[in-house]
Amino acid sequence: MRQTTPQADFLRGIWRENPVLIQMLGLCPALAVTNTVANSIAMGVATFFVLTGSSLLVSTFKRWVPHEVRISTYILIIATFVTIADMLLEAVVPTVHKALGAFVALIVVNCMILSRQEAFASKQPIGRSLLDAAGTGFGFIIALLMMGAVREILGNGTFLGFSLFGPNFEPWVIMILPPGGFLTLGLWLLVLSWVERRRAESARVADWPAGVAQRRVA
């Protein structure tokens, strides 16, 4: 197996294997609750909490969990943290909790969380699992923020509730409705894949023998 550093464990989930933008996991909350920046942050933080908590427990108890019942045990652990997150949100930020509605409970079936337990936390030491979970969680928050910012700015003319364009701005209501979620995600993926392709192209050019590269560029 390839040697990894703590930084690599942490950074991998943020960008190169971003759960939403690259792995295409956890799309349900990414589409459903990103109509405002505040909701995106709350959803991202709740998921971050569930993910790190579950990874910590799964990694701690991995030696005692028999292979046959591992998925049930993981789901039980995840569901516990989701219930806790749900109650904490309701106690601390009740209005946000109301806006997120049923989607907090649906974190249980977010495949991003289960995939991190199955693919990583159940095989790795506690420290690495926590770093991996934190990185993936941050990646999820970043992806939700990218969606939420675009949707709230265009769909409501505000950012975190502050008006950006003054009273003459006509909001694009579709951006905060469900179709806007698909549109925004699609456009972000387009941009990212274009950037990725540009980078791959220039990397290939750099690998070519000097003469070829010159001819190709010219």
């Binding site: 459903a32 049930s72 045990t73 039980l76 516990t80 806790i84 309701e90 106690a91 509605g101 469900p178």
Partner: protein
């Protein structure tokens, strides 16, 4: 996530006794229960306090800003000002009687809930039983589909119709409107949720109406 035949771990592993599987799951379940009970006990007071604050605000809203209001409890099929000694107010159904600045009653705020599309939709509505008029309606609790069913609380045109509507309410499609004060335009795409609210109000009035009358006669106008 399934065990593929090529998974070396699955092949080399011996049969684990089912007792071990049960102990593992029971242990995980017990730990989960303990954690949830601990957090529940810790967060519940805050949540309850917030709910009480929201309820007071909702009573203010659906009775159109009464100068004051009394809490009446349902006890033995009657409304009483005060529960008999030794009974706890927790879990007892209550209605709220609002008064205007002169001290004359405006109407009752009644909380009720019935199953909607996803879960129980809890509402509170103001009701003047003397002329059978709804004063206002507010959704307290709902898990209806975001973007469709949740219009029952976000669509101000729908919520606004309840002010001044006569009971029993009648849900109709907007194109069939005749201007009858019993009519409530239902929301396209939220038919079940809108119908639930109308049904909740009608049923609650049918159930509470006699109690409200009886209370009025008991205290005198």
């Amino acid at each position: 996530m399934t065990d593929s035949p090529t998974n070396p771990q699955a092949q080399t592993q011996e049969d684990v006794p089912s007792r071990k599987l049960m102990v593992t799951l029971a242990g995980a379940g017990a730990m989960a229960g303990l954690m949830i009970v601990f957090v529940y006990g810790w967060t519940q007071p805050t949540i309850q306090a917030y709910k009480a604050r929201m309820l007071a605000a909702a009573v203010q809203e659906v009775l159109r800003m009464p100068a004051s209001y009394d809490t009446l409890y349902v006890h033995d099929g009657r409304l009483v000002n005060q529960l008999p000694d030794g009974t706890s107010a927790a879990g007892v159904e209550a209605v709220y009687l609002g008064y205007d600045a002169d001290g004359s009653p405006i109407g009752y705020a009644i909380a009720a809930g019935e199953p909607g599309f996803q879960d129980i939709i809890g509402i509170i509505f103001g009701y003047d039983h003397r002329d059978g008029k709804v004063l206002g309606m507010k959704v307290l609790e709902s898990k209806e589909t975001p973007g469709l069913g949740d219009k029952i609380e976000k669509d101000t045109a729908f919520v606004g119709q309840f002010e001044g509507a006569l009971t029993p309410l009648l849900g109709i499609k907007a194109r069939n409107a005749t201007g009858d004060p019993h009519e409530i335009d239902m929301i396209t795409g939220a038919t079940i949720s809108s119908r639930t609210i109308i049904r909740t109000i009608n049923n609650a009035i049918e159930r509470m109406g006699p109690m409200l009358e009886a209370y009025d006669e008991g205290t005198g106008p």
